[in-house]
Symmetry: C2
Subunit: 342 residues, 2 copies
């Protein structure tokens, strides 16, 4: 494998490595003649700079780490694509890593990224506790947390999202359509380990406020996947007294719900209204198009990257205000057709 160094070029061109370095970086002042000669040999020898060596001396790798639950979830994939694009625009490359929501793995990943001397990290923890990574945080590496939804103390900087309000919006929309028996399908291993904690809390509060508090039997647990979304919906829809609307705390589960309904011959939205959360691109293009809560991924990634770059430059930063949710009404929700006695 042809792997030449500036020394090889230097020797060939009859100059010293310093000179080569200068012409390659366009820094010092070099005569046109030597410049041309150096360039010629660089070309000829198929020279490619060794960014590893450069990183070592510059104390900067122009590399970012992106830590997220799983890139196969379109929401995260869309975020990753945006992050990669913005990083590229600044000459950075990004390591993407999946925690699979495993705490141990998440911590290891972080430590490894630091060992690789990434210049900064974007961390979308989704249900991962903070206490396991205290030491990591203490390392002082620029790291920005995004869409934190835990109950633990605020960490800074953090690009937050008003999940509670999002849940409320979803429930209020359903309530306004006359739905009184609404179910919630969310992510979490147990009712007191709900990962989409705030979304559920927001929805519940709206339900209570409207005088139709959540029937505990209508709270289903999943894991943010379509599979579990479908399974949960199947359970819900075969109940003696099924819900007339379901709020899924992410779009993937909402899609699973639509499919479950389809299989049971339940028409959406006539017999069942469904609202999701995230607004993945696909949400607008399924049948029926999904009513959902929009998380503005562009705003999220832009803010996160701006803050991260500021930190890398050593600037002092503060968390921006919470990102606000927005309801987008599409074809999966409509007026409730059934009457239920309270």
């Amino acid at each position: 494998m042809l792997r030449s160094t500036i020394y090889d070029i230097a020797k060939a061109a009859g100059v010293t490595a310093t000179t080569v370095s200068y012409v390659l970086s366009g820094k010092g002042s070099i005569s046109g003649a030597t410049r041309a000669r150096v360039l010629k040999y660089a070309q000829e020898l198929g020279y490619r700079p060794n960014l590893i060596a450069r990183s070592l001396i510059k104390q900067r790798t122009c590399t970012l780490g992106l830590v997220m639950p799983r890139i196969s979830n379109p929401f995260y994939a869309e975020v990753a694509e945006a992050v990669e694009r913005l990083a590229y625009a600044s000459g950075f490359r990004v390591f993407i890593t999946n925690t699979h929501e495993n705490e141990q793995l998440g911590g290891d990943l972080l430590e490894d990224l630091i060992a690789r001397r990434v210049d900064g990290i974007i961390y979308l923890p989704h249900g991962l506790p903070l206490y396991g990574i205290q030491a990591t945080l203490a390392s002082g590496i620029p790291i920005v947390f995004c869409i934190w939804e835990e109950e633990e103390p605020e960490v800074s900087p953090c690009i937050g999202f008003d999940f509670m309000e999002g849940g409320r919006l979803a429930a209020e929309h359903l309530l306004a359509l006359g739905h009184q028996r609404v179910a919630i399908v969310t992510d979490g291993p147990s009712v007191d380990g709900i990962k989409h904690h705030l979304r559920v809390a927001g929805a519940k509060s709206a339900l209570i406020q409207a005088g139709h508090p959540l029937d505990p039997a209508l709270l289903c647990l999943g894991d943010s996947s379509v599979e579990r979304g479908e399974a949960a919906a199947h359970e819900l829809l075969t109940l003696p007294e099924p819900p007339t609307a379901i709020f899924a705390t992410n779009d993937l589960m909402a899609i699973g719900i639509i499919t479950a309904a389809w299989k049971l011959g339940i028409h959406i939205p006539r017999d069942l209204s469904v609202v999701g959360f995230d607004d993945i691109v696909l949400a607008a293009y399924i049948a029926p198009p999904l009513t959902t809560i929009v998380m503005d991924k562009s705003a999220l990634t832009e803010k996160a990257m701006n803050i991260l770059f500021s930190m890398i430059e050593g600037k002092q930063v503060t968390s921006p205000p919470l990102l606000l949710p927005r309801l987008v009404i599409r074809g999966s929700t409509t007026q409730c057709s059934k009457e239920y006695r309270a």
Copy 2:
């Protein structure tokens, strides 16, 4: 930012850097006492190895590059997740990069990855020409091409997929169901710039063989996105003599087609059969579940990674046989209900 080196530890522990290096790597033979002392100070100083320095001397970064069109397409996201998982299992981290099907960008990305001295590259080019990266290939970096669908000369090693057979399978399924007027929605800027070239060729040949050659008016161009899939389907379905079945050369477009039909009040599969290509996870969980051609992503990524690792170890490798397509019949296709005169 606390960033200690082995020298800091050495000084603190009253030994030399070599000793520290040995205990940290567990290589030389070090007395229990010094080992303990070194470890203690390493801990105390919050030492984290500098993998950049290590890479420089070892001539190995334990880093891979993954270049693909766009990770927001679930098919690629699923591949990326698998690649990342396999890489992680071998202590590798991966740079993921999106070409956005831009030839220039694709070439730059490759060069940059080489400059960063990744140990190997997985390249899923999708419609990108080879001639632009000859120099890159000549660098000798281990690189495995996956699912190449161009007409240019074979490159080795390459994990190929029998796209032609996949297209044929799709068309034959439709034909067997009695469909005679089948449309194709594919990816490409023009009819002679079709990126899913082989899939289309396979389908066409089956159609011809059955005596129902493709009506040129029923070949629609898109760009692998749901949006364009929906737009194409809208055109097709509002034709005076619409198709009774549509073969979309990827799942995203197929989903768009289903949505277009839904919006037009056309029932799937009763009034229109749809078959996709890829078998993204979501395909099985939309309404109706999508009949599609399965590309085995596990097999693909496993083979690709095995070969890549072999190359990295300096072994000689050859391309494996083409991966075979499989048809999975779900709810989006059924018997044709209309009669058309030939």
